[in-house]
Symmetry: C2
Subunit: 244 residues, 2 copies
Amino acid sequence: MRRVLLVVQYDGTDYHGFQRQPELPTVQQTLERALGELLGEQVSITGAGRTDAGVHAVGQTATFETDRPIPTERIVPALNAILPATVGVVSAEDVPLDFHPRFDAVGKLYGYRILSRVLPSPFIGRYAWHLPTPLDVGAMQEAGGRLIGRHDFVAFSSSGSSVQDTVRTLSRLDVWRDGELIEVRVEADGFLYMMARRIVGTLVEVGRGRRSVEEVGLIVESRDRTRVPAIAPPQGLSLIKVIY
Amino acid sequence: MRRVLLVVQYDGTDYHGFQRQPELPTVQQTLERALGELLGEQVSITGAGRTDAGVHAVGQTATFETDRPIPTERIVPALNAILPATVGVVSAEDVPLDFHPRFDAVGKLYGYRILSRVLPSPFIGRYAWHLPTPLDVGAMQEAGGRLIGRHDFVAFSSSGSSVQDTVRTLSRLDVWRDGELIEVRVEADGFLYMMARRIVGTLVEVGRGRRSVEEVGLIVESRDRTRVPAIAPPQGLSLIKVIY
């Protein structure tokens, strides 16, 4: 038996998230079906984490086990030949049998893209939040700075989650403009359910001038979910990297 | 009565081309429905030309007539608020009542994008032809040069078209590499059905080394459709501009 780690990218638009769900198209089910076809056996994969419906990934990770003698270097081209165009495998490598894609991860990096101009775009809009109102990127960056460090991020989580420990360490939060795009990068040792989108939603309210930079620090301290003013829509979000 | 010229962009992936067809989703029908909702009357639009199923546009044009008193500068934001994310209006302007978007056009510019690398991409692959084999861009450019000028392009048309005059003047054909992308731009006073995709398909055969540069000139001269070796798939093609 061997364990293989895949790095996976996908356009999440037409999927109900990564994690398998009965009767709904998910990335996990799509990958498992392709692996099953490739290996001629039923395969279950374990992902580094779920992504929500409509969220994309360029660096999701997942493992599977097999005793089939397929050479590791054949896995990427063979899977990509089977997979639909919306899901692709970037790399495959053998890992120790006790490697776990979620528990061994020390962090995750998410990217969020905003299309900041009056005109919408059928192309960029698939991968960005279109906001025609001007945004103060400097204020967004400054507000993001209030979230860096070790905090109880319960205010930025969505209710209904079973997670007990809501303390996370946010090591990076950058906001910059690249022409008509505003890019946000946020890295932490872990993310609560909807945390990345709640952070971006809050930063955008600051960028619009509806909330102050100081208020963002107060929202964290409040530990009160109802104080987060907005949740950014899923299509702007992408899981860029799982860090081991 | 007034006539309004729209510049329209769309992600053609999920449409059966621009031109209205019974029972099938098309860009024209989508635009007419949005205009009907905006103006409160049934509206027919006239496009500069059809694009095939799966082909995109950033600069398609179309006209409609109305006697509703909507200010021209309100049309773009109002239509974009109604249209689905896959179709957008870039501009609207009043034109003379005898202006015709097809007959008054003096040329069209198409772009074609190739993703030239081993790994497919769920994101770029929606708007590009993924070709993992290396391509000789210099040879493609040189072969493209054999098509410049006034020629009978019947060899590059698809049968079944009712067009009698197959002579067109191709004024520009550029091929260049931009990182992992190869971009093709082709401008002519008009394009026959499938002409742009047949040209790109032929250039790619040259880039792969399966056909010589000289052969491309001979294919034009032959006026023989069966000599065109390949047709590029629709998702790489985009109508960039209709020239007036």
